[in-house]
């Protein structure tokens, strides 16, 4: 069976500084994967490399069996922060943009997500709170019928109650054969839905284990296990 994501010997440098080194990662279809690491560890960089918007790396990144950038982008849905849109753009116009440029964008799924996440189509981006923008990003990302979803700290501006609702709702919105990679500092909140945990430390992947394995063998919660790997590390904040 072809792995959904296959990363071999990935090294990435920027401004002559090594960000990621000798990264090897294999992800199968149909899993929820947590991506954890300290601030600046390289979580966002790894997602950007997979999504194809970070360039000039060494090694190989294959998604869906292909290393072609266009083929990868066709099956990867990456949570975009809406930075390229004019602040006066309405949510409706943003949705129109997504409907037009992404053949796999499902208007029906977006409507359901939009109602659940309480989004108003007439609102302009300039009046949205941080939390509402995050909700919009989640709705747009999950409305695509992709094989791989990359959610980069999707809950950072969302209140605790809403976070719990959204996390539980994810199981219903995403196809069983799709893989969702979530980076989050709130590991305890997403632990229930995770199948696997990937930890980035010292510019590479330190651990990639199933969450069941961690619970059974380490007898620690996911968050405690993550923190145990950083114990004694002066750089961790």
């Amino acid at each position: 069976m072809t792995n959904l994501v296959q990363i071999n010997n990935l090294t990435y440098r920027k401004n002559n500084k090594t960000i990621l080194q000798d990264v090897n990662l294999t992800l199968s279809a149909g899993h929820f994967v947590g991506l954890a690491g300290a601030n600046g560890a390289g979580k966002t960089t790894l997602m950007r490399l997979i999504a194809g918007v970070a360039k000039n790396y060494q090694g190989q990144i294959m998604v869906g069996g292909s290393s072609d950038e266009v083929a990868k982008k066709a099956i990867v849905s990456y949570s975009d922060e809406l930075l390229g849109f004019n602040r006066q753009t309405t949510i409706q116009d943003v949705v129109y943009f997504y409907q037009t440029v992404y053949p796999d964008f499902s208007s029906e799924r977006y409507q359901n997500l939009s109602q659940f996440l309480k989004l108003k189509n007439t609102d302009r981006l300039s009046v949205l709170s941080k939390g509402t923008k995050e909700r919009l990003t989640i709705a747009l990302t999950l409305a695509r019928q992709a094989s791989l979803y990359l959610l980069d700290e999707p809950f950072s501006g969302i209140d605790v109650m809403s976070r719990k609702q959204i996390i539980q709702g994810m199981l219903n919105w995403v196809s069983e054969t799709a893989t969702v990679v979530i980076s989050s500092h709130h590991l305890e909140e997403i632990a229930n839905i995770l199948d696997e945990l990937v930890i980035i430390k010292q510019q590479t992947i330190l651990e990639h284990r199933s969450t069941d394995d961690i619970l059974e063998q380490e007898h620690l919660s996911i968050e405690d296990y993550f923190e145990s790997l950083y114990q004694g590390d002066e750089n961790y904040d």
Partner: protein, 256 residues
């Protein structure tokens, strides 16, 4: 994969919306400026001339504003996730972006020409037949009413596209080499690199303008061949610079 026509569609729609907004502001500014001139008693009899000159002046100013806005919009589109995440090759994305800029310039030109033509017609019909009115009419006919023609119009559309592409070239090339410079993320280093690249670009453009200028024989009567030669040079530069930009775009990341 996303269809090329869909990318052009969203790109053009956003550019046209932006251009229309600027054109409307242009008209409002002209209206305000024109009304102010009516307070001068000596200008009032020549109100249609004042209107025409106000239009001409502000259209030139707003043509520059439209170009600057187009440069900013184009640069943001090519450096943001919004367009770079779309499953389409960088070649098609760049061509779509350039085409949408060109179409917006054509649209702006058409609107501005129509407005100027209406104003000119109004001027011709209402300008008093005194010394000033007669002098203006004679000067206008004798002068350059057909200057440039098709060739000139083509140059006026290709030149802004070339300028936009040169701005892309400076931005992409600077970003590309900054990636390999230690401390490239620091503002001071970025400024130095951009200044160096801009200086090189200005030097090259200056030499190109010298070549274009040398094509003109200095005889105002026989400019047609020179204008078409200049168009050829500009078109060739658009293709060359565009190709370089596409090569660099594949190696330039989006802004985080």
């Amino acid at each position: 994969m996303t269809k090329f026509t869909n990318v052009i569609k969203v790109s053009i729609q956003s550019r046209l919306r932006m251009t229309t907004r600027l054109l409307m502001i242009n008209l409002i500014v002209v209206a305000v400026s024109f009304v102010f001139t009516l307070f001068v008693s000596t200008v009032r009899p020549y109100w249609s001339l004042s209107l025409f000159l106000n239009l001409l002046f502000w259209i030139i100013i707003f043509a520059i504003a439209i170009m600057v806005q187009m440069i900013i919009s184009s640069r943001n589109n090519l450096r943001s996730n919004r367009f770079r995440l779309i499953p389409i090759t960088e070649t098609k994305l760049y061509v779509a972006d350039s085409l949408s800029s060109l179409i917006s310039f054509i649209y702006a030109n058409i609107i501005q020409v129509i407005i100027l033509f209406v104003s000119l017609k109004l001027l011709w019909l209402t300008l008093p037949n005194d010394d000033i009115g007669a002098g203006f009419r004679a000067g206008f006919i004798h002068g350059n009413s057909h200057s440039g023609g098709v060739g000139g119009n083509l140059a006026s559309l290709l030149s802004p596209i070339l300028i936009i592409m040169l701005v892309h070239l400076v931005d992409f090339f600077s970003t590309f080499i900054l990636n390999y410079i230690p401390g490239g993320a620091q503002k001071f280093v970025k400024i130095i690199v951009y200044l160096v690249v801009i200086s090189i670009a200005v030097y090259l453009i200056f030499n190109v303008i010298k070549i274009l200028y040398s094509l003109f024989t200095g005889n105002l009567v026989h400019q047609a061949t020179s204008i078409w030669l200049a168009n050829g040079v500009i078109a060739a530069l658009v293709i060359v610079v565009g190709a370089i930009n596409i090569y660099l775009l594949r190696r330039v990341e989006t802004i985080r």
